[in-house]
Amino acid sequence: MAGNEKNKATIIAHSGDMDKIYSALIVANGALAMGMEASIFFTFWGLQRLKKGGLDKGPLSKMNMFGLGKWMVKRKMKAANTASLERMLQDFVELGGKILACDMTMQIMGIKKEDLRDDLISDYCAVGTYVNEARESAITLFI
């Protein structure tokens, strides 16, 4: 691969909705699998999903119907043998993906490091880190 070719994917996970966290992790894992570097910057509602035990606690972005819609979608996903969010997050880290946590969200929402899955987080940072990652990226998404 050419040395100066952009070969990175940088994703902002702003939504904490279950289906959108799926999209973020699938794209990020796909990028790693295809030989790119990847990082996910978790901010606002997305950061809630990095709380201990919180990864699959988000609602569905549409037709959640107080959890009924989410329950139905989860059943369909199980029938289709879809990987769990936890498995995809573990794969992401195993393949060298970087998980970045937004420190301003932590401050605003009163989230402490010990509330989060610190072992998986490579950095606690702010917009400058995102921009620095994104400027070297061929793919950057806001989810």
Binding site: M1, A33, L95
Partner: protein, 73 residues
């Protein structure tokens, strides 16, 4: 030279692609990774990943719904 087998039968997006990448990362240069699966899109996409990674696609065979892809690292 080792031969590493990855069974992704019944798995769906993005598992076959991710499991292939995980196996390729662990393999030594010269090793062969053989992936078996049933997810239709992965049959096209694993060869794309192999190309992007600059590796050698040795073989792609199909038997019914099952495909088998052999890659040399």
């Amino acid at each position: 030279m080792a031969e590493i087998k990855v069974d992704c039968k019944g798995e769906t997006c993005p598992v076959p692609l991710v499991e292939t990448r995980k196996a390729l990362r662990k393999a030594e240069p010269g090793d062969i990774v053989e992936v078996i699966g049933t997810h239709p899109a992965s049959k096209k996409e694993i060869p794309m990943a192999v190309k992007a990674l600059g590796l050698e696609l040795l073989e792609l065979t199909e038997e019914g719904d099952t495909w088998r892809i052999r890659i040399r690292k």
